[in-house]
Amino acid sequence: MFLYAFRLLQRQPQRLFLTIAAIALCAVMMLFLLATYRGVADGSVDYIRRNGCDVWVLRQNSTNLLRGTSFLTAAIENEIRSCDGVRDAHPVLLLLPSLHRGAQRATVFLAGYDHTQRLGGPPALFAGRGVHSDSDIVLDRAFARKMEVGIGDTVSINGTRLTVCGLSTGTNAFVIQYGFVTLARARSVAGIPDLVSLYLVEAAPGAIPDRLVRRIEEKVPGTAGFTDGTFLENNLAEMESGFLPLLFAIAGIGVVVMTVILSLLLGITILERRRDFAVMKTLGAPRGYLPGSIAVYALMLALFGIAAGLGMFPLLVSLVERISPEINTVTTLPHVLLVVALCIVVGEGSALLSMRRLHSIYALEVYQ
């Protein structure tokens, strides 16, 4: 089986090349989608994941940061602080202003936080330092690259000039990137002095976050509290509901296209080698030999295609990063294995589809 399938591939170099290229492209596309998904998932929730607070307090009916508006008054800060089991509460104001640099303009997910505190700021700094004063801004690294700004450069929001003091990572949510300023600066930019979006609550030692949530919601009407884990899940679910269907649709199209291409190719190969298969039947090839050869042929195509795809993938990623820095890709081993498995399944599925043609080849054809 192996020998015949291998020689068949070898003797049709042009077809081999085209098929491998098609499979490689499909594999690359699937890998890229998965890597983008991982990148978006990480970038969307890293701010939450790495924040380190125990309870998130938002406006009632708000469940996540990504798609929702939450406004709370600054006045409730003390009420939250005075709840049993609360060690501290830190206000954060989230805005979606336009950021300008020269003629360039882009929307930034601006977080104003109490820069004197540990919580609410960028999850990780790639370069520079954190926010020290009202004239500082930390920008997401990919956003900065897109805007072609570096540390020390000046940008403006609503006419307020800010100096880029640091570049953060884990703050790229694909469709939007984070920026960080002081709470006072965010309020002045928004022109709403006494509003915040949410509070990051630290629990006192020994306090159970679940109970804390209930206590805060009871004591401060109009708020919704979430433990860190629940809030992370909410945001992931929100991100996935917007992104996963698209991802699945594109990946699904890729799989269908690949299956169609492969089964057509295998079908053509079977018809072209019809005489060989008839001769094999006459010469007493075991029952599994013919379908086995097709399966091995498809498997080899899939494996060569995957290998080519894996070779091409890093090139594609570096190219995309250069063209669109805000596209953050994270490639993981499980995703690579998933794509490999999918390509093999598609290969064997196509083989299975085209094997039906073998039934209509008769040994007697050798005498025609």
Partner: protein
């Protein structure tokens, strides 16, 4: 070498019809024929007379519509397709007019593949292929693809492939029809050697009258009817003194152990 007179096939009153639409073609009608090992049986007949149909029945590729065909003691009507496939792989060899080599495989691989069909391990299959290529003087072609060979060379490869599994029955359909005169002669001699030295029962459907000279028996088929059995030279060299030997034996075509010599005067044994 097998026992020279073992019955390989037995055909009794076998007929084969093909229906197409309202019409019926009686391709073979009531054929009765036995084949024994070591014998060259030549089937002569005009185009459309039923030669290939008869061979196909002997191969178990089609079943008779009436009568019976027994292969190696088994009635093919009662055998499941897989058993027939096993019989073809293990006990039969095939030679075709247009060679039907696997052109994506090299010469040596063509000869090993059929042995793999017969579940021979890779190493002994390769050894056997080498041995046969040497005997058939095609060892220098081992690494070539069939498209690089002459017709005569292709048919030699096909013969090597056909005998690779040491078949008891060798079915050849017009083996010389695509060949030039000399190449045809070589093939005729080789088929004769297969019978004589390997003990195969060779059944050869042909138009080639040269085959008569090496035939143990010549059968004529017209309109599906085996019209007569003429005796030919029994298992001896082309135009050799086998006729004389047969006459001495006075047995009218019974298989005789051949003289240790082929048409070229060289004795090359095909090992079994």
């Amino acid at each position: 070498m097998r026992s020279p007179e073992a019955t390989v096939f037995r055909m009794r009153n076998a007929s084969r019809n093909f229906t197409h639409g309202a019409g019926v073609t009686h391709a073979v009608r009531g054929a009765t024929l036995d084949g024994v090992s070591g014998e060259v049986l030549v089937l002569l007949g005009p185009s459309g007379s039923g030669k290939t149909t008869l061979l196909s029945m002997l191969a178990g590729l089609i079943r008779p519509t009436a009568g019976s065909v027994e292969l190696f003691g088994h009635d093919i009507s009662g055998l499941p397709p897989q058993a027939l496939q096993r019989l073809r792989a293990a006990r039969m060899g095939f030679i075709f007019q247009t060679f039907h080599l696997f052109d994506v495989l090299k010469v040596e691989e063509n000869i090993t593949l059929v042995q793999r069909f017969n579940r021979v391990e890779r190493a002994p299959a390769k050894r056997r292929a080498k041995e046969l290529m040497e005997i058939l003087e095609i060892d220098r072609l081992a690494g070539k693809y069939p498209s690089e060979l002459s017709h005569g060379e292709k048919q030699r490869v096909a013969i090597a492939r056909a005998v690779a599994n040491r078949p008891e029955l060798l079915l050849a359909d017009e083996p010389t029809a695509s060949l030039e005169w000399n190449q045809g002669l070589e093939v005729v001699a080789l088929l004769q050697r297969c019978a004589r030295e390997f003990g195969c029962c060779v059944v050869c459907a042909t138009h080639d009258l040269r085959m008569e000279e090496v035939a143990g028996r010549v059968l004529r088929i017209t309109d599906g009817v085996l019209t007569g059995t003429a005796e030919g030279a029994v298992g001896a060299g082309i135009g050799s003194d086998a006729d004389a030997e047969k006459k001495r034996a006075g047995d009218g075509g019974t298989i005789k152990k051949p003289a240790p010599q082929d048409g070229t005067g060289q004795y090359v044994r095909i090992p079994d």
